[in-house]
Amino acid sequence: MSDLVTLTIDDREVSVPTGTGLVEAAMAAGIEIPVFCYEPRLGDPVGACRMCLCEVAPGPPKPQAACTLTAAEGMVVRTALTSPMAREAQNGTLEFILVNHPLDCPVCDKGGECPLQDLTFRYGPGNTRMTFPKRTFEKPIPISPLIALDRERCILCYRCTRFSEEVAEDGQLVAVNRGAQSVIATFEDEPYRGAFSGNVTELCPVGALTSTQYRFEARPWEIQNVPTVCGLCPVGCNISATTREGKVKRVLSRNHPEVDEGWLCDKGRFAYAHLQARDRITAPIVKAGPRRFEQVSWEDALDAAESTLRAGGSSTVTALSGGESVEEAYALAKLLRRGLGANEAVLPEEVPDGFDGYRAPLSALRAAKSIAVLCDEPVIERAPVVDLWLRSARRKGATITYGVPAGDVEALVTDHAGPRYGATNVYYLPRTPNGRGVTDAWSAAGDGEPVDEKPRLLVISGDEAATDPSVRAMAAEADFVLGIGMFESSFRGIADLVLPGTSYLERDGTTVNLEGRLQRQRRAVIAPVPDVTMFISKLAERFGVEVSPHVSVLFDELAARCFGGIAFADVGERAELPPRAAQQDVDKVPGTPVPATGGLRLVAYRPLFSGAAVERTPELEFQKPDAEIQLSRDDAKARGIKNGQTVTVSSNGTSVELRARIAKDVQAGVVRVARDHARDLHAFVEVKP
């Protein structure tokens, strides 16, 4: 069998790989077959909307739904371009869709970027023959605090329900009722709560599912979409930040087929509201009381910072968040290591670099036949889109083992160092968005050794570090704490001087995701404060170190050492994965030793819906994790615990009541509780019904 088939579409001959769908085959010939319901990322075509009707021979003498057909040798296809039958059929479909569509385009968020408008313009009727009252429904219905549903605008393409059913596999969005009364609803009218719910607003080809944050905020002709990369987790999903009048109004996916396939988690999509937080630090602040700061001028702040750094000297310790850009981390590291000789850092990660020899794009997970997931923390909480890749792999027939696999596997997803179990593709999930890049930048900035001296000054970079319990404990010991961050409450009570930080949406720079892919972040909006690199540059000057305020210069300096000399301008909008490092025998690396103690090992994980950005997005409040404990089927069985039952979790005199959830991705001997609900529980706990 040949690898190509040749067919004719609108009298144009085109050869496409065997198995290509007709819609794609037409695209290859430069011909549009219009669609609403067709979306290959959602699984098999459903042929529901009937927008793609074409004349196809061989076949029955009536219009065929092209989206459900595969290109075949000798096939003759006629689209609306050359077939009156297809043209009439497509026109008919649009007439039917519009019969009950409210046509409230002037007040619809989708208006101006609406596939229904566009296809009506190209293929639809110019007038209406419908003289009856249109079908009405109660609207809008908040299907969650994030999403509003307008059932009148809905054209029932079932993209949203298919996403829920076949991609996120949460089964929460369903169609209820029948015929003309069919509507989209959530199961049992419960709020749509799930890590990926926001994707349905982007899949919706009309204004039926809209983001409550974006509702009535902008018209498409007065916005700009800035291509950048999400900075909230180590996946580094490619996004477009929609801005209007200098404010981020929405975040959309910018489909990188190897990284995110066009899906975003709700944190990445909705947490941009943190830019406008009330406690945003907009000028340098100094401690003015136990729980109070006072604004100071930049002059005074830089003077204070300089004297503090001088006093701190080489014993100064730097705590990094892992949310900094590579350039920010490098600039800070250069100031401290070269200017002060302060080589001691608390890094956000210890990334086991042995795995870089087994680097692969996330999309390769889908092709794996066997995958082991060796993660203490739930994958979905740490790197949410990886969870979607795993689900996709399982749908394709992969065997997924949670825990140590019995034999060799093709791919390994892990959050700690250890053997690779024969995996040729290894995905290490860092804890922080740019932990890898920050670690690299810190080491590239100097090679001095830390001094063995009690630190007097602690520098805290970023809100995530400032809210980390171990960093806060160090802060309590230090004589002086200098912070760089965005929000006053992160530093209240611990910092003496805080210089304002910026968000990933407000800066230019680069970031390294979990695959080791170097990606470019772009400034979507101008921050209310100067760039971090700007004041570091000024401070560095006072210490006789040359630190450029410009990220391109900083990057070029660093690139030679870390990124194979790539030029800043070449870090494209859809970054490629760098080639694999030399393969090391990581199987010799011992895994995390598990102490042999009685009880179950508690993993107090950092939930997806937590952290500084989420805390400042009220719409995400409902997504926060339940007070539950996840345990394996075996451990539950051994203790007579049923799913959903309230259990007592105790350790060393502390106990907490939590709801039990039996989760198949938890290994025996381990239990998981979201950090907020774990309270004072120790590393080993006992669980009783």
Binding site: V174, A180, Q181
Partner: protein
């Protein structure tokens, strides 16, 4: 003599719901006979018999079996479509209620042909009595060790017309919302749980034991060459003796209406006959000499369909008849594809306007045009079913539509036999908070 008993043979003399009684007339003899044959030989035999599907489309059952990919590593399934929901059809119901073992025997034979071990009978939810009879017959046959390594599961539907559409039936059987799938892939390639699946109507499968009994060659001699065998015809409406009649295919329609079923009662005149359940083009009185078989009916522009004749006399307003059936299809439209979902509702609105005497002549053309934009464009045949009868009324009884427009009211003035008989739509409300607008 057009009456010949195949499906219902023996049921008047004995209680064939009992296994012993059915076996006493030679029941289940076909199973060992079939099992002694190879699957290939059995399929060849079924193809020789040329038994055409009784569900409506008339696709030869043996050919369907030959399309099953028996080399597939997946299980093969046989599904019996007992979701008889077409208005006017009640033949499967009688087979299940009176000769359930004949259906079960047919299942076992057909299962052997396609190397299937799991048979599902999807029975219309409203058929409770028939379900109970069929289920106890299944239990009795299983207890008598007649199944071998085959299992038969009777599954009750939940009351949706669309689940009689074979792919929607498969989705419903899988526990999903019952909505049709796009085809291809066809069920013999990718059916239940994506495995090769044969789907046949109750009467089709229940005829299979007779093929085994007579031999395919003999069976093929019954009735016309193009449509061998018998069919049970359900006849209802304005008819003296409504009910089921098992006849040779090819029996003239006039003979069934006037000789067997006693003609039109109360001295009324015949107005029209819908020959295949409410979903096919209606015939006018001058067309009823047509032989009742697939090809003859197709030749005059209608369908054999569910072999169910609805006889309508001259007291019925044709617009009301159209409205009644269109409301049914609007109510039963599953909502998956655009033309059927939106178009049937629009047709109802137009028909109501016409019946109310508020329409203009252009609305008749619009109704026709809306229909033509549904026809052949929907995902499954339900959309077509809504249009076929209405298009035929508009064509053959256009005068009556025009009269509604010109008089500004229904010419029957409230005396039509359908006057005030509401469609199920008006009696149904499903989801709280949602208003059903006709």
């Amino acid at each position: 003599m057009p009456v010949r008993e195949v499906l219902l043979a023996g049921a008047d003399d004995r209680d064939l719901t009992k296994l012993a009684e059915y076996q006493a007339i030679g029941g289940y003899a076909g199973v060992p006979k079939a099992r002694a044959m190879s699957s290939d030989d059995l399929i060849a035999e079924l193809q020789t018999a040329n038994l055409r599907g009784r569900g409506g489309a008339g696709f030869p059952m043996g050919r369907k079996a030959s399309l099953i990919d028996r080399s597939s590593p997946k299980p093969k399934y046989l599904v019996v479509n007992a979701d008889e929901s077409e208005p006017g059809a009640f033949k499967d119901r009688e087979v299940m209620a009176r000769v359930p073992h004949r259906l079960i025997e047919g299942c076992l034979i057909a299962a052997h042909a396609i190397e299937c071990r799991d048979v599902y009978i999807f029975i219309r939810g409203e058929y409770l009595t028939e379900y109970e009879i069929l289920q106890s017959a299944v239990d009795e046959a299983r207890a008598a060790k007649l199944f071998g390594d085959v299992e038969i599961t009777v599954h009750r539907g939940a009351g949706a017309y669309i689940c009689g559409e074979e792919t929607a039936l498969l989705d419903a059987l899988e526990g999903k919302r019952g909505q049709p799938r796009p085809r291809p892939p066809f069920p013999p390639v990718q059916g239940l749980y994506d495995a090769p699946t044969q789907i046949n109507n109750v009467c089709t499968i229940a005829t299979v034991p007779t093929i085994m009994e007579l031999g395919a060659a003999e069976f093929a001699k019954i009735g016309p060459e193009s449509s061998p065998g018998t069919a049970i015809f359900s006849i209802s409406g304005n008819i003296a003796r409504p009910g089921n009649y098992e006849l040779l295919l090819g029996t003239p329609m006039r003979e069934l209406i006037y000789d067997l079923a006693g003609g039109i009662p109360d001295g009324r005149e015949l107005k029209c006959v819908i020959p295949g359940g409410s979903s096919v083009p209606a015939l006018s009185p001058d067309e009823i000499d047509v032989p009742l078989d697939y090809d003859s009916l197709a030749k005059i522009g209608t369908f054999f369909g569910a072999a169910s004749l609805i006889v309508v006399d001259d007291r019925c307003c044709i617009v009301q008849l159209a409205l009644r059936s269109t409301k049914f299809y609007m109510h039963e439209s599953c909502g998956k594809c655009t033309p059927c979902r939106e178009g049937t509702r629009w047709m109802v609105q137009l028909l109501e306007k016409i019946e109310a005497g508020e329409a203009e002549l252009s609305d008749l053309d619009l109704l026709d045009d809306v229909g033509s934009r549904i026809l052949g464009r929907s995902l499954c045949a339900l959309g077509d079913f809504a249009v076929y009868p209405v298009a035929s009324y508009l064509k053959k009884w256009r005068d009556e539509f025009v009269a509604h427009v010109e008089l500004g009211r229904c010419p029957y003035g409230g005396s039509s036999s359908l006057e005030g008989i509401v469609a199920p739509l008006d009696a149904h409300r499903h989801h709280p908070g949602l208003e059903i607008l006709a």
